[in-house]
């Protein structure tokens, strides 16, 4: 039989452990797998360590270091479980909280540069935490510093081969076990087959499905789709965290859109409606926890701003005002140093006027379902970081995202390496056949404009599957997603041999639409409001819904099941 050009050209790579995604979690997994004696290939669809969420994170990292004030990881766990509103996987939450301090100290040894005060690591108070627990790198540099530190550790490790610009098409399976992956090498357009004894999905979350988000462009939930098609399950897909005060106006470039949080926190920025009146107090409910500075947790603040806008009291661009006009200029300068100049370059002067902010998709609590060892129900397939669902339940505490990236990355890397070192390769060329066939079937065609389809999908997710949902909006989203699936067709579209954005959009949409469908399905089924999932038609918390929803894919159809949350038992 005649082989096509794609198969003839396929480049083959072999390793013990394949890590997909080079944010903090993927890099930590790669380092830890190498330390456990495995050979590692770390791939990313972007350049290594540049894409993903980590590099965007300007904020804080929570861990019970006890540097600022005495602390214990069990206190951090209590706060995490409280924020998760009954839905946390307690084993994963405990792993995050218990291993967090070790990882932050390791990062400190690697000279990440945690901010210090009086000779100790400075830990800030953040909403939902019972004490100061959040480390950071000044000024607003936590993510870039974390990324840079892990990259230099990788550079010094011989056993990790890093390959950028590799877009994974599908996980390769043999007899139901993960044995590698099939990919597209973007600069050449060639297919790549990767044989490995274990595969780690570290692709981050799905906030790129939303019009306004704080993610990199490549956070469309592709790891979730890879996991689903490989036979793994997803959990808590309905819980998308919206960050209440994402930057809205004026146009701000060169900065993370969620950068206002530390300003607001350190300087007590005021949220005002169009009447220039503070409104947060109007939305305080019994279960909202105030730490004395913030009035509302993230989900309630999102609710408050959205309601003010709906009531006709929004700012001109459709959000709320954030004002620092009551803060002396010298104090702003002292707190934020060079950032003040970056704001000035954007025409923003906090002394003379407010900015406009609005909720923005920020993090996804749900994700790939994994056990305590970060392995999915598919043997050999692991997940870590934001890609894993369950640890944060219905709402994530601020500061937990990078901690989970470290803790889950390290654990997944170690466990995957153990499997790889004692096991043998299950790879066979047949495992890559269907993905290679898919790439081979790509055809040049002009319609529809797939970049416009991506824009349409993001708009419909924001408008109908956003922070406030109802049955009518969700049902119309289900139909719209079905229609977009038909529009893109079952064969990939392409426009060029090398670095083809049309083929990338098609492969992305194949994943994004499946993931959008999962979120919408779970949101429609959950007839209550809990944490980040708010239903206008079911506004109350319902004890009968103290359940996780689990999604699987079989014969091309998604299935939804309910499970009781995983607990650690009374002795926990």
């Amino acid at each position: 039989m005649e082989k096509s050009a794609v198969a003839d050209n396929a480049v083959h790579v072999e390793t013990d452990v394949l890590v997909i995604g080079s944010g903090a979690s993927g890099m930590y997994a790669a380092l830890e797998a190498a330390r456990a004696g495995a050979s590692v290939v770390l791939v990313d669809r972007s350049l290594i360590g540049r894409g993903g969420a980590t590099v965007m994170a300007q904020m804080t990292v929570a861990a019970a270091l006890g540097e600022q004030t005495p602390d214990h990881w069990q206190h951090h766990l209590s706060d995490t479980l409280m924020a998760g509103r009954g839905l946390c996987d307690e084993h994963l939450a405990a792993l995050l909280c218990e291993d967090g301090p070790r990882r932050l100290r390791e990062m400190d040894d690697w000279k990440v540069g945690w901010a210090r005060e009086d000779g100790h690591i400075k830990q800030a108070q953040a909403p939902g935490h019972d004490r100061p627990r959040c480390a950071y790198v000044d000024f607003l540099s936590t993510g870039p510093a974390v990324s840079r530190t892990l990259r230099s550790q990788l550079n010094a490790t011989d056993d990790v081969r890093r390959i950028g610009e590799i877009l994974i098409v599908d996980i390769a399976l043999r007899d139901g076990e993960a044995c590698g992956a099939t990919a597209l090498h973007l600069p050449t357009g060639r297919a790549v087959t990767l044989a490995s004894k274990a595969v780690i999905i570290a692709t981050g979350g799905l906030t790129g499905l939303y019009r306004r988000n704080s993610a990199s462009s490549n956070m469309g939930g592709d790891g979730y789709a890879l996991a689903l098609r490989a036979g793994a399950e997803l959990i808590d897909m309905e819980f998308v965290q919206f960050f209440p005060i994402g930057h809205l106006a004026p146009r701000l470039v060169g900065m993370d859109p969620i950068m206002w949080d530390p300003f607001r926190y350190k300087l007590g920025g005021r949220l005002l409606n169009a009447e220039m009146r503070e409104f947060e107090q109007d939305y305080v409910t019994e279960d909202s926890r105030s730490d004395g500075r913030y009035v509302l947790t993230r989900d309630l603040a999102t609710y408050a701003i959205t309601r003010e806008v709906e009531a006709g009291r929004g700012s001109p661009a459709g959000g709320a005002y954030l004002s620092f006009q009551h803060v002396p200029e010298a104090e702003i300068r002292r707190a934020f140093g060079p950032v003040v100049d970056r704001l000035a370059a954007n025409g923003i002067d906090l002394v003379s006027g407010p900015v406009e902010v609005a909720p923005i998709a920020h993090y996804h609590m749900g994700g790939v379902r994994a056990d305590e060892g970060l392995q999915t129900c598919v043997p050999g397939l692991y997940a870590c970081g934001e890609a894993v669902g369950g640890a944060n339940g219905a709402n994530r505490l601020s500061g937990n995202a990078i901690t989970e990236a470290f803790a889950f990355g390290a654990s997944a890397g170690r466990n995957a390496a153990q499997r790889a070192v004692r096991g043998s390769s299950l790879w066979s060329p047949e495992a890559a056949c269907s993905a290679l066939e898919l790439l081979r079937s790509a055809e040049r065609r002009d319609a529809p404009n797939l970049a416009a389809v991506v824009v349409e999908l993001k708009a419909l997710m924001a408008d109908r599957v956003g922070p406030f949902r109802n049955e009518q909006k969700l049902r119309s989203a289900v139909q719209a997603i079905e229609r977009l699936k038909k529009d893109i067709g079952i064969f990939p579209a392409s426009s060029a041999a090398k670095f083809d954005p049309v083929l990338v959009d098609w492969l992305d949409l194949r994943n994004m639409l499946l993931v959008a469908q999962s979120v919408t399905m779970a949101a429609l089924a959950r007839t209550e409001s809990r944490g980040a999932h708010q239903r206008e038609d079911y506004p109350a918390l319902d004890d009968d819904w103290l359940l996780n929803q689990v999604i699987s894919l079989s014969k091309g159809r998604l299935h939804l099941d309910r499970r009781a949350p995983s607990t650690r038992g009374a002795s926990g």
Binding site: L47, G51, M56, V455
Partner: protein, 109 residues
């Protein structure tokens, strides 16, 4: 407001050609905003690198803007014609995309 992006296109080995796209914009929008608009409004095959969109964190969108090396995410759109070209000292892949990955992080067949 409206700008015209005059973009150098083509792959390595082809004679480069310049194609112009008109883009409407609002005060403060970036060149990267303009390039993304060209893709979803007119020509989805236009190739350029970017990852973080806004934050100037990924440093992938570096290109030649009006003859000067700069980031598409931080240079603002302005009225008139803006010339965009790939980085001159890097190997061209296609359109505005050049080989900027560190050599030890590339696929070695």
């Amino acid at each position: 407001m409206r700008t015209t992006l005059a973009i150098q296109r083509g792959t390595f080995g082809e004679p480069p050609r310049v194609e112009s796209f008109d883009v409407d914009f609002e005060q403060g929008q970036s060149v990267l905003d303009g390039l993304r608009a060209v893709r979803y409004q007119t020509d989805p095959s236009l190739a350029f690198r970017f990852s973080c969109i806004n934050a100037n964190a990924c440093k992938e969108c570096m290109m030649l803007i009006d003859g000067k090396v700069d980031y598409a995410c931080t240079v603002r759109l302005r009225e008139g014609v803006m010339a965009l070209a790939p980085l001159p000292k890097k190997a061209l892949i296609r359109d505005l995309v050049t080989e900027i990955a560190p050599p030890d992080e590339r696929l070695r067949p």
